[in-house]
Amino acid sequence: MKKFLAEIDVMPLKEILDPQGKAVTGSMKNLGLPEISNVRIGRHITLEVEAENKEAASEKVETACKKLLANLIMESYNFEIKEI
């Protein structure tokens, strides 16, 4: 068995208003950074997974994302995986 590290990003879907991101965007002006716009805030998740190979590990991470880590009605996800 090999061990893999997955780095997962879960983001609110584009069509959904992200009030947290909007508030942060607003504060950029106050920082003197009016060039920054459209801040969107999601979550970054890391996890370790044991599997025979990278493909099998990806499949497990995919299942975890679909079933629990992201709610596909409101969020999208993507991840990168590497052996550790």
């Binding site: 208003l17 947290q20 409101m74």
Partner: protein, 230 residues
């Protein structure tokens, strides 16, 4: 009617629901611990409000995988009556038993206040005894009550008469100003397509006892009793 109230770690409205079903409505009630698998032959299951598992990850996301939820899902899929209030509603959407999802309130605040609601259909277990022009004053208490559904899902909800409640003003007008949390089309509660699973963000159990000075939630429970005992 025998009622089961599911208790998750972090539930905090379970005793309110038990009180209403037992003391106000005179029904048999059993608490159902989230780690159990036995539904104890109940006729109706209620998922209470609260902060199950500390709202970690997303509200309701972890509770949805509690052992009892596998039984609740099987019960619902066989046509059993299940209702979720507040966190219970969030859990039911996470479990896929109800359409849509609950996002953070658009103002990012936890909102705890009385709001006005109107039933949108009488064709449901929880609204059958509520007149279409009746305005109910019911408390909300949530940070993630902003109901969202994709456009096609929303169309299905409207076409199939699955919207149970919408937020309105004191006169019963469904307006943007009366929408406390940003919910799409002011939706405060929905049911599934088979009309046996119900969810709502407002707390009727907090407005069902005369001693609290507000019994606007009572018609919901009376609807349930009337239909289940029929």
């Amino acid at each position: 009617m025998k009622v089961g109230v599911v208790v998750f770690p972090g539930s905090n409205c379970d005793q309110d629901l038990i009180y209403v079903f037992d003391k106000i409505l005179g029904q048999e009630v059993v608490p159902l611990w989230h780690k159990d698998h036995d539904l104890q032959n109940v006729d109706f299951i209620a998922l209470p409000g609260g902060f199950s598992f500390g709202d970690y990850l997303r509200s309701g996301a972890i509770a949805r995988f509690s052992p009892i939820m596998q039984e609740v899902i099987a019960f619902a899929n066989k046509g059993g009556y299940v209702m979720g209030i507040c966190n219970g509603f969030q859990i039911l959407t996470e479990a896929g038993l109800l359409p849509g999802g609950l996002l953070h309130n658009t103002n990012r605040k936890f909102i705890c206040k009385n709001v006005y609601l109107k039933a949108q259909t009488q064709n449901s277990l929880v609204t059958s005894a509520i007149a279409s022009n009746q305005v109910l004053n019911i408390p909300i208490a949530h940070g993630e009550g902003n109901f969202y559904a994709h456009a096609d899902e929303l169309k299905r909800l409207n076409d199939n008469d699955q919207v149970l409640f919408r937020y309105c003003d004191a006169a019963g007008n469904i307006t943007e100003e009366a929408n406390p949390n940003g919910s799409i089309e002011n939706i405060a509660g929905v049911c599934n397509a088979s009309r046996n699973v119900f969810g709502m963000m407002p707390h009727p159990e907090r407005a069902a006892d005369a001693i609290l000075g507000n019994q606007d939630g009572l018609p919901l429970f009376e609807s349930i009793l009337k239909m289940v005992n029929a």
